[in-house]
């Protein structure tokens, strides 16, 4: 059994503008992380999550591959982070909504059926502890950024 995170948001800007924000490397770096993204199926890229010494976070690299890229409608890439988050899939679907855009976001493929099972735990090179520390640090770091 896998779990999917789904979000649906409406953005007042037109679809082309949203598409640019999710596919332009520099813009993507501003709301995600520094990256070497290219809008081309098969392109392998990484997000470099910077370290945050304040919360003891060493930084991490998320490895991705572009799986779908149909401007200005669909973008999907694989998402593998250190720990058990291997080959999950992140996707964005953009639909016009009046003058704005409706964005359907999905992050799928989290295996939660057997948290103590072989795939989730033994396969995790860095272990769950590390993974949770890292994610927590990211979230804490973000909260600190916004103050």
């Amino acid at each position: 059994m896998t779990k999917t995170i789904r979000r649906e948001i409406v953005i007042p800007q037109p679809r082309e503008q949203v598409w640019r924000a999710i596919t332009d490397r520099a813009t993507l770096a501003e709301w995600m992380f520094p990256n070497d993204f290219e809008p081309r199926v098969g392109h392998c890229f990484s997000f470099h999550v910077p370290p945050n010494p304040k919360v003891g976070f060493d930084g991490l690299v998320v490895s991705c591959e572009v799986l779908e890229c149909e401007p200005p409608t669909r973008l999907a890439f694989s998402w593998s982070a250190p720990g058990p988050v291997v080959d999950t899939r992140v996707s964005f679907r953009l639909e016009p909504d009046g003058d704005g855009t409706r964005l359907f976001f999905e992050h799928s493929g989290f295996d939660v059926s057997q948290p103590w099972g072989q795939q989730a735990l033994r396969g995790a090179e860095f272990g769950w502890a590390k993974m949770l520390e890292q994610l927590s640090a990211i979230v804490v770091g973000l909260a600190a950024d916004q103050k």
Binding site: K3, I5, R7, I9, I11, P12, Q13, Q17, V18, A21, I22, T27, E30, W31, M32, V55, V85, L103, F105, H107, F110, V112, P115, W116, G117, Q118, L121, R122, G127, W128, A129, K130, M131, L132, E133, L135, S136, A137, I138, V139, V140, L142, A143
Partner: protein
């Protein structure tokens, strides 16, 4: 806040070691004695006992005396926090999507 600096032996620390995860796997199948568990490992008995102690302190297993032997039982509910990492990812994406929206709003004003 997301991070609670909890100094008690935590579940994540307990399952961060491959040997302890293997022990939990063994206990998923059935309750087992220290000797039976030790039989699955190359390491010394005291080392096995030490790992079991970590699991015990994290509340992932309970210990019961059966005659001369100590027997271990898995407490799967204690693995609940492990599932919470999904919640972390949810918060992560909520934050990122908010930043995306802010980014777009900023650009259209420029």
């Amino acid at each position: 806040m997301v991070v609670t600096p909890d100094r008690r032996p935590d579940v994540f620390g307990a399952i961060s070691h491959p040997a302890r995860r293997r022990m939990l796997d063994l206990l998923v199948e059935a309750d087992r004695s220290v000797n039976t568990i030790a039989g699955h490992f190359q390491m010394s008995r005291p080392a096995v006992s030490q790992h079991l102690r970590v699991l015990l302190e994290a509340g992932l297993v309970t210990e019961q005396r059966r005659g001369r032997e100590r027997c271990y039982h898995l407490v799967p509910e204690r693995l609940g926090p492990v599932r919470e990492w999904i919640a972390h990812y949810e918060r992560f994406w909520d934050d990122r999507l908010l930043r995306l929206q802010q980014q777009l709003a900023k650009r259209s004003k420029e």
